[in-house]
Amino acid sequence: MSEHKHKSFREENGSYKGVFAWIFSTDHKRIGLLYLYAIVSFFLIGVLLGALMKLELMAPGKTVIDPATYNAIFTLHGVIMIFLVVVPGLPAVFGNFLLPIMIGAKDVAFPKLNLLSWWIYVFGAIIALSSLFMGGGPPDTGWTFYAPYAFKTNTNMLPAVLGAFILGFSSILTGINFIVTIHRLRAPGMTWFKMPLFPWTLYGTGWIQILATPIVGITLLMIVGERVLNIGFFDPALGGDPILYQHLFWIYSHPAVYIMILPAMGAISEIIPTFANKSIFGYKAIVISTLAIAFVGYFVWGHHMFTSGMSGTALYTFSLLTFLVAIPSAIKVFNWVGTLHKASIQLETPFFWAASFLFVFMIGGLSGLALGALATNVHLHDTAFVVAHFHFIVFGGVGFAFMGAIHYWFPKIWGRMYNSKLATSGWIIFFIGFCTLYLPMFFLGVTGMPRRYYDYVEKFHGPNIVSTIGSWVLILGLIIIIYNLIRSAYKGEKADKNPWGGRTLEWTVDSPPTLENFDEIPVVNRSPYDYRKNLES
């Protein structure tokens, strides 16, 4: 009996064999890993496409691909990175794996629904990707599918939005599951304010997922109405308004950005106290700012449309709201840095990722201020500056947090340690590559280079060369990191329960955890980040 109990979830196959024991498993940990493998595969494809674009942009004129291919590639790159990588991203992988353990539960509230969300995700991914190839020509609309161009070209608009809707459905199910899990399954004694911060951000994200995704459904219905019944909603040829499409698109896609970034902030809030050996500074302030971001983030979508021809009142209202949403993000940064004051910091790879997250996230956020102000937005909108900004936020924010998270929870998930020197050198190369790749794009944008540009005039040449070289450095770092992690998952030294000295509940269970996580549901009677010695165990 007790023998059985201590088998890890990786060995516990249930009634299936081989891959089926994974793709039909309702264990939240296996589902988390299924998402991980799917997402990482899509991510790598996306990176290759990105690198190809950078190669093309290394010199003016044709370098390696023609314009049709370039346009198809940035569309695919955007669709993959946004809808298949960062939107599911941290919640689907680390939320699934860790949420139940961190709140002292054996699984999520609805394990079968959870497996269903993964299947829906895979199904939606197939629809979304194949739609791009179903029309006559290459998919070349950009991930925003703006009307009327997206309707005019041969690409297949309907299945693409259908794919987004199906993917959104998968998010809704995950969102509902997490919200119910958090409400119902917290361990005895774990009051709301004794809950760790990563679950808190999953909670905020869950609500956004539930409330925002139906907009995609509505948009889809309207597109069906327009394409099939010829009711003019968006297409001016039918008397519709292309701006209406932009509103609907961003009402969903802007909150989607917060779906991405909140859990990333949550992961950083776990990593910093563990390696600082010290309680997080301003726990409540971080919780409140999480909820504030989730709420205000709902009302800022218009800042994607300052030059579209909206009314003046709408313009400055959206500008003002955009500035308001910057405040809670700033508060978080101050609290994270504040945590380091009088700490006792272990310099390990996950901490390096977290610290560099702070740096790139600040650049992303601060560059957003220039985009939020009307006068400067007009100049910067739809230029390389925006491309740099969102890569700093999305890739810098979510990507660095993801990297930090995987290095932080690696011993828990695989029960082994990675080579720390290799991991750190991978990080530094990646970090240098990242900055070399994207910082020049700020400069390009300020000097006027529009985005989605296959070719450019000579004055933009210099910064583009630097940026392309950056992409090579970044990829080198990525190869080192991935090599190290894959190798260590098989050959790394065995890790014990709590290699970093973390205080949240996942560090009290086996590495890797058993099928039911806990032999006995723990009772919680202290704050999640109390590092005082006398409280040991």
Binding site: N71, Y149, I331, L369, A373, A375
Partner: protein, 317 residues
């Protein structure tokens, strides 16, 4: 020569750049300051230097301070951004209107007297208002040196105004993705003295179109293709772009698709006329329908004849 951006390229520049300096200044200050704090803490409190952390859970005073200060700063940024932008919406009454038409993948500019150019001419020290029209998909008129940008939306009129204070040439880009040749959808704005501008736009336009040394009929045809942006999709050297090349266009037989049927036609004057005024009835096989829009009410009969002369020349006739 394209000018690098200068302060008096347009009256907006100083205000917008003021907002830039303010926002970037504060941003860089914060970035450097917070990063410095972080690095200092990491060095000072690393485990080998500080084995024991001090238990601190937070500080309400600090939370209030670092909520209030950023709030004041971002509100002032909002204000700067708003005030620097407001003047862009207040179009002066005496602004000279220029109709600006965007289509895949060219801009054309039409002045009060009917003159049409592919380069935007504007007078110095005089407000100009561009009435923006898009014929096919979204485009966006962007003049980085003037700090202005406005999307051009089919089925909806938008406008933009500016006043340049310095003679010179500045780049125009299309900033909203509009398909295959989006990155080639560029033009130039030339700021010229008011007298020259008036000369150009007030006397009879037909006299002016070809005033820059019309060498022969060929030259006139080339000017027409430039003026209407035909060269965004067509070449004269035989290479295929988005549409077929004009080289050897006449007298050659081609397969066109009309009502889903393939028909063979020999290109003559009538065919060319239909190709320009009703391009989507017969669509040359292998090319996409709907890309070329009709030039009805734009290309005049005289211009059409000039095009024909040009095509004849290119077909060895």
């Amino acid at each position: 020569m394209i000018e690098q951006t200068t302060k008096d390229a347009s009256t907006f520049v100083s205000q917008v750049d003021g907002a830039f300096v303010f926002i970037f200044g504060i941003s860089i200050l914060f970035l450097v300051g917070i990063t410095a704090f972080m690095v200092y803490y990491i060095l000072k409190y690393r485990k080998s230097k500080n084995a024991e952390a001090t238990h601190i859970e937070g500080s309400n005073t600090l939370e209030i301070i670092w909520t209030v200060i950023p709030t004041i700063l971002v509100l002032s940024m909002f204000y700067y951004g708003w005030s620097g932008w407001k003047s862009q919406t207040e179009i002066p009454d005496d602004a000279i209107p220029i109709k600006t038409i965007a289509r895949m993948w060219s801009f054309t500019f039409q002045y009060e007297n009917g003159l049409i150019t592919d380069t935007l001419y504007v007078p110095k020290d005089q407000a100009v208002k561009l009435d923006l029209v898009a014929l096919d998909v979204l485009h966006s008129l962007y003049i980085p040196a003037f700090r202005v940008k406005q999307d051009m939306v089919p089925g909806k009129k938008t406008d933009i105004w500016f006043e340049s204070e310095k003679e010179g040439e500045y780049e125009i880009f299309c900033a909203e993705y509009c398909g295959l040749r989006h990155s080639y959808m560029t033009s130039t704005v030339k700021v010229i003295p008011l007298i020259d501008f008036e000369k150009m736009t007030q006397i009879d336009s037909t006299a002016l179109v070809n005033n820059n040394t019309v060498v022969d009929a060929r030259q006139a045809g080339i000017s027409v293709t430039r003026k209407y942006g035909c060269n965004a999709c067509h070449t004269a050297d035989g290479s295929k772009l988005v549409g077929p090349s004009y080289k050897n266009i006449l007298g050659r037989s081609r397969v066109v698709i009309q009502d889903d049927e393939e028909i063979e036609v020999i290109a003559d004057e009538d065919y060319i006329r239909r190709s320009i005024y009703e391009p989507n009835i017969e669509v040359v096989k292998g090319y996409e329908k709907g890309l070329m829009l009709s030039y009805k009410d734009q290309v005049t009969e005289e211009e059409f004849m000039q095009l024909m002369d040009y095509f004849k020349y290119l077909s060895g006739q």
